[in-house]
């Protein structure tokens, strides 16, 4: 009787330290940030009096924050989409029994070993409108070379709130850099998925008379679904929380065309001492990440993911 109770108690005791640490350092600080976002702490000297949703209203009316939300939306969708498509294409290529398959696998995976800061600096040079790849394009006879991240164009520029809504052309340069770095991750994940599909399944499909394309479309692709979900979730919370890539590569950009919430949060908190406004941005970013990840974690995602660790 006593031993049984102890047996139930021991596992709890073992996880207790980590529960306490996470409670304080993750949820405690989320709660604290949440409170700060509702306070008047927009000065250097802390002022924690309650302000209600004043800061939230201010931020959502702010030109820069509205631009950030637009940029994040377009960045995330295009970044994740491109990574999925390119990653899958590379995985299928590398999965063929090519002679140098392992070599290419490493080549595509390698950019992932770099930090976003390195990627940002290098692509900043490559896509510099006056010294980078444009010199090459000019040598090839191109007249109007692209402006890359210097462009202030927004397509199609529909007035929404204070900003023009549409795809900021400049953010494409950042997406190129991001995709260059992260499509290798998508490839590796898809490759694992492809190689986990037993040969018998493909053979069975062939016996049933499926063409190569049909095999891919109706057999392989559905079986890669868990991989797609994994990649999407992982990349979504990279893209929603981007800071280093943008900070190193372009900064906020002219008219905030390449600004993201992470950069704004850093600058307004630590340069402008608007800590409550910074906390608002942090909370909005948290909520966005939660919207993307939580449903998958709670619902079918749990089954699809198996035991792949999200964090």
């Amino acid at each position: 009787m006593k031993a049984e109770r102890l047996e139930r108690f021991v596992p709890f005791l073992m996880v207790l330290p980590s529960i306490i640490l996470i409670a304080i350092f993750v949820y405690g600080f989320i709660g604290w940030t949440g409170y700060v976002s509702l306070s008047n702490w927009n000065t250097f000297v802390p002022d924690l009096s309650f302000a209600g949703f004043k800061n939230y209203i201010y931020m959502f009316k702010d030109f820069r924050f509205q631009s950030d939300l637009r940029n994040t939306l377009f960045f995330s969708v295009l970044f994740i989409g491109s990574c999925l498509v390119i990653g899958l294409a590379l995985a299928v290529l590398v999965d063929q029994k090519l002679r140098a398959a392992s070599f290419f696998r490493n080549v595509y995976l390698f950019p992932m070993a770099l930090s976003f800061v390195v990627t940002g600096v290098v692509w900043q040079w490559i896509l510099n409108p006056s010294t980078g790849v444009n010199l090459l394009l000019k040598a090839l006879g191109m007249k109007n070379t692209p402006l890359w991240y210097v462009s202030t164009r927004i397509i199609p520029a529909i007035s929404v709130g204070r900003i023009k809504f549409g795809l900021p052309v400049a953010i494409l340069a950042v997406i190129i850099a991001g995709v260059w770095q992260q499509s290798g991750f998508a490839m590796a994940t898809y490759l694992a998925g492809l190689q986990a599909i037993p040969d018998e399944v493909r053979e069975a499909a062939s016996v049933d008379g499926a063409t190569e394309w049909q095999k891919f479309r109706y057999v392989i692709l559905p079986m890669l679904r868990p991989m797609t979900i994994t990649i999407t979730i992982m990349l979504a919370h990279v893209s929603l929380k981007t800071f280093d890539l943008v900070y190193a590569m372009t900064g906020p950009g002219a008219g905030y065309v390449t600004d993201v919430p992470g950069v704004y949060m850093f600058e307004t908190s630590f340069r402008g001492n608007h800590f409550a406004n910074g906390a608002v941005i942090a909370m909005v970013m948290l909520i966005c990440s939660a919207i993307v990840t939580v449903p998958y974690l709670l619902g079918r995602g749990r089954r699809d993911l198996g035991d792949v660790d999200i964090n």
């Binding site: 927009n42 250097f44 991240y149 694992a192 372009t250 002219a254 905030y256 949060m265 402008g272 001492n273």
Partner: protein, 450 residues
């Protein structure tokens, strides 16, 4: 097959770890900066960070926190430290410099050290509001009136400067150097070839700009990848349309931000932006100055640290390769940017720090530091012969001109207000919406001037 699967899974896991590390990027950054700062410190730092140091050994140190890591400025700081060591061979100097232009990284490190109860003995801060509205407001600084009286500094620093560094009659920092913000540098060859004389008014500027543009030369170079350069251009225009008294009044509430002069400044600023290089947002200030040095652009409004960049880094000759003039309509006004050092409360080595501040404020100290950094001394009694032709002229102006603080460099307004003005200017530069910009500036002033 199976082996490949394993390898790929391991790779995926590694990717997950990398991503997790990437997500923590925001918070680890300040940690990394802390590391770099401690790497630049000498080994002797280690005992002082231990808690059980005796008071005698800790009195023999002074830790100087700055963002002076560039070529000339680092040499200047080193010169100061040498001078200090000659006078006080028993005191160990720890040079805790954090790299990063305009001190943006250093300020984040400083904030974490100050609030963590580990203040550096003295730290670099721009004069006036950058200090007064932050650490002085938070009651973390000691007044330096005693030092000013003891050393006779009230007589040698310009009264306007001392006033701007004071709050309620207490002065809080010692100014080491002065840079000028309202200067335009130009390519002498381009001006000579096109028979252009330096434009001193806005009308002359636009005439000249039109001429140059017609010949395919970029009239005005701008590099606003870091947006403060655009703000610096705007504040110089603002000073030109408002004049020094009204300009200064904008920041104490005596002049409203919907003054016609502000509207005029916005109009002129926006017109000027039609004459800048197309790739301005891919360049930092050095890249923009370089356009002038290479003859690709004619003019560049930049603080006179650009002079140091021209002469030291690019090897150009003043008055031969490049020239300068006071920005449009601001003759007789000196928009200054000044680095100062103060005395934080609760530091470990108060006596040694006071000795260091004495050297900083001394004529000898300022004459060692400034020729190397390329700035001019804040004291008005410095040895003119030690400075180059540009600086001699600037020193003359410094002691006679009216003084105005810079917004872009944190002297005119609190950091919070500065950030808001910066945002208005950044947005305005692309939208060109004068009414919106004006109403935003008025709102910002109402919120921050409380």
């Amino acid at each position: 097959m199976n082996r490949f699967l394993k390898v790929s899974l391991v790779a995926t896991l590694c990717a997950a770890l990398l991503l997790a590390a990437g997500c923590g990027g925001g918070s680890t950054q300040s940690g990394e900066q802390n590391n770099t700062s401690s790497q630049t410190q000498t080994e002797t730092q280690t005992p002082s960070s231990g808690e059980s140091t005796t008071s005698t050994s800790s009195e023999k140190q002074v830790e100087i926190f700055s963002w002076w890591t560039g070529a000339g400025e680092a040499a200047g700081l080193e010169g100061l430290i040498q001078l200090f060591k000659e006078k006080h061979p028993d005191i160990e100097v720890i040079n805790a410099a954090v790299a990063g232009g305009a001190g943006t990284n250093a300020k984040a490190v400083l904030a974490s050290r100050m609030s963590g109860g580990n203040p550096p003995d003295t730290f670099q801060v721009h004069a006036a509001h950058e200090l007064l509205d932050t650490w002085v407001a938070a009651d973390k600084m000691e007044p330096l009136n005693f030092l000013y009286e003891q050393e006779g500094w009230y007589d040698v620093f310009p009264k306007g400067l001392v006033e701007m560094m004071s709050k309620d009659g207490n002065v809080y920092s010692v100014a080491v150097n002065i840079h000028r913000g309202n200067v335009v540098f130009y390519n002498k060859k381009i001006f000579d070839e096109n028979n252009i004389t330096p434009p001193t008014t806005f009308d002359e500027f636009f005439t000249v700009a039109e001429t140059l543009k017609a010949k395919g030369i970029t009239p005005l170079a701008l590099g606003d990848k870091e947006p403060w350069t655009a703000l610096q251009l705007f504040e110089s225009v603002l000073l030109g349309t408002m004049g020094p008294d009204k300009y200064n009044g904008l920041f104490d509430g005596s002049v409203a931000w919907d003054d016609p002069g502000v509207r005029e400044a916005l109009d002129i600023f926006h017109r000027m932006l039609q004459y800048i290089n197309e790739d301005h947002s891919a360049r930092n200030w050095q890249d923009a100055s370089q356009l002038v040095a290479e003859g690709k652009a004619a003019m560049n409004l930049m603080g006179d640290w650009a002079k140091g960049y021209f002469t030291t880094d690019l090897g150009l000759k003043p008055n031969e390769d490049f020239g300068w003039f006071t920005s449009w309509n601001t003759e007789g006004t000196f928009m200054f940017i000044s680095d100062t050092f103060g005395l934080p409360k609760d530091i470990k080595h108060r006596d040694a720090t006071i000795e260091f501040l004495k050297v900083l404020g001394s004529k000898e100290g300022q004459d060692v530091f400034n020729p190397l950094k390329g700035s001019i001394p804040a004291r008005t009694d410095a040895d003119v012969s030690k400075y180059d032709v540009y600086s001699q002229q600037a020193m003359q102006d410094w002691s006679t001109n009216k003084l105005t603080p810079s917004i872009a460099h944190g002297s005119a307004a609190s950091p919070g207000w500065t950030e808001k003005i910066q945002q208005v200017v950044t947005v305005f530069a692309t939208t060109g919406d004068v009414d919106q910009a004006l109403s935003d500036l008025v709102t910002a002033a109402q919120e921050e001037l409380k």
